[in-house]
Subunit: 390 residues, 2 copies
Amino acid sequence: MRNIAIGQAGGPTPVLNASLAGFIRASTESCIHLVLNGYQGLAEGRLHVMSADDYRIIEEHCEIPGAVLGSGRYPLTPQRMLQALEHLQQANIGTLVFIGGDGTMLALHQLSKLAASIGYDLQVIGIPKTVDNDLTATDHAPGFASAAKYVATSVRDISRDLEAMKNFEQVRILETMGRNSGWLAAASGFFKKQASDPPHHILIPEQRYTWDQIISGIGETLRQYGYAVVVVSEGVEVEGDQVEHGIVQGRQVLGGISKRIEHHVQSSFGVMARAELLGMQQRSSSLAVSQIDYMEAIQVGEVAAKWVTSGQTGVMVSIQRENDREYQISYQSCPLEKVAHGGERLLPAAFIQDPDRYKRWLRPLLGSDLKEYPAALNRSYLDAEKQIKP
Amino acid sequence: MRNIAIGQAGGPTPVLNASLAGFIRASTESCIHLVLNGYQGLAEGRLHVMSADDYRIIEEHCEIPGAVLGSGRYPLTPQRMLQALEHLQQANIGTLVFIGGDGTMLALHQLSKLAASIGYDLQVIGIPKTVDNDLTATDHAPGFASAAKYVATSVRDISRDLEAMKNFEQVRILETMGRNSGWLAAASGFFKKQASDPPHHILIPEQRYTWDQIISGIGETLRQYGYAVVVVSEGVEVEGDQVEHGIVQGRQVLGGISKRIEHHVQSSFGVMARAELLGMQQRSSSLAVSQIDYMEAIQVGEVAAKWVTSGQTGVMVSIQRENDREYQISYQSCPLEKVAHGGERLLPAAFIQDPDRYKRWLRPLLGSDLKEYPAALNRSYLDAEKQIKP
């Protein structure tokens, strides 16, 4: 009889706990150890046998954002990995499962290799999560759809507000998550139908920009529509510079590019500009959970539980789209090695060049309950007046 | 036959359009003029007779944030007021209705007095809206409940995220709207049950603080729980200083106190702190609309339409609570003069001293569909470990 250990690592999502609940419900093994506080808890031996009470609490958290086991970031040095393996062996763990993103999968892969090298027969399975969709080898991962829904609806709503207030405030610059990839920032264009609809400019890390380009583009929008909504991914480089919020444990925390754009816009045009981060709600808002995201989050957990029994190891659960016309997915196994060395998943050039194609890809993930807003009356009348006096 | 003119002014809310729709549905007058872009539109004569198409578009906007007529901020000088009255007289307007906050009500009151002084018999009615609940002479106004729901749920969700990540990031400082009043910031404590629950510190403009107090308080929380969530109203003064984002048309735009606290926390404790504005979503998020807010927004519009017929003038629709035990309100008329000179409505001392009392007041406004989150497992285990080794 071999025990299972499961933990959560990296930044939480609104559906990270759903994957844990899915795994635990579908698990047929009687003895599950919970790893508290991610890889740090693993290295420090914070493993607890799941009690009936714990099971109930995890169930209660199925729809709650955050990480019920505690998560975190923790660089796993070789020394710490050996400690982790010792703790696992002491608890007679035969299977280690972690829910996380690319860093988590890399660490799982390394643990798996190290275990093999010391003759410890450890089954290892990864359950994917992300908010910025940078995890490779999967069409998308749980967490992204809810974050994208939050970004799309917030930018639409904030734009409505600005459009009504343009005699007072003319430019809003909204900063999204996305260190290397523009999936989230580009999702802000989901409701855009024509050039005059906000957001007018979406800046993503996949592309290079100069200050001149950015500022003259915003100036042109101001002249045409009297206001401008700009969305920028935190990882965007302008003239080779990225804006850093700070460095924590050797990890660069990005943030602040929107504030720089605000400054340039104000000094170039003398208008009122406001930079705002879309913030931590992107990875935590219970208000924006996409139903399909929630269901898939549970399902990746269930699939991992089945794989424990069927004996798969060194793999991550990956979501593949079966069909371009209607939304249909399958769960496939992907070697952790491929995930670990696949690099970050960037927004494909086809989606950058053809935003409608990206929107078609995105639509099923966001859900069918999203409302398109008709144009406001002040805009219709303005357009009519322009047509009368060209 | 006298015509009605209606406009929207000031910062939008998620339910500002609901009040307009409520008014228009309940109006028995056949000829309604729409004032585009608030008081600026009024001074510039941007009045349009509502067509059947316009009616349909306003109906379609009933659940949409922003201001379908266009809104804005515009200082009404005596000169501009006279222009506005001229345009109204030309269109044979007998009734002027505006939906807005305290500035809007003051302007309506002045217009009403000026009209009387030139012998123009103009009926004037105000429909209230607010997000920060600073409008006097009403228990609350439409817009506040949805903003408070957004703040309460966002702070709860962001806190869950931080609690799971405290080995990486220790302090979050979340800045709310509220120039002079702490209603919104205090709403962030809605889900708090005990001292250890976040938010650990709520700073409101009604109270005075020193940097020493703020920083030593956060330090104590860090020592006790390993992380700290701080909520601060944009209008908070520390040692006599308020943080300004800029000045637009003579109006001070606040913002940035959270960033200063971040700086002090980082330099005092060397921890990772992150300041974020809860942002424009407070007054625009379609995700956080409170059902009761939406209904009341429609009703204040309907009441104003009835008053047009019954001939009330120089008044604002005010919401009064009839009962402390169960939620029951009535709509009363309040003289615009009283609203205009009543000053800003601050959070009462009784609510500051007894947060539970404020929560009881707030509960019916936020709605009954809000979920309390149970404690996460990592916290329960941490508490248990502390009890074992005190």
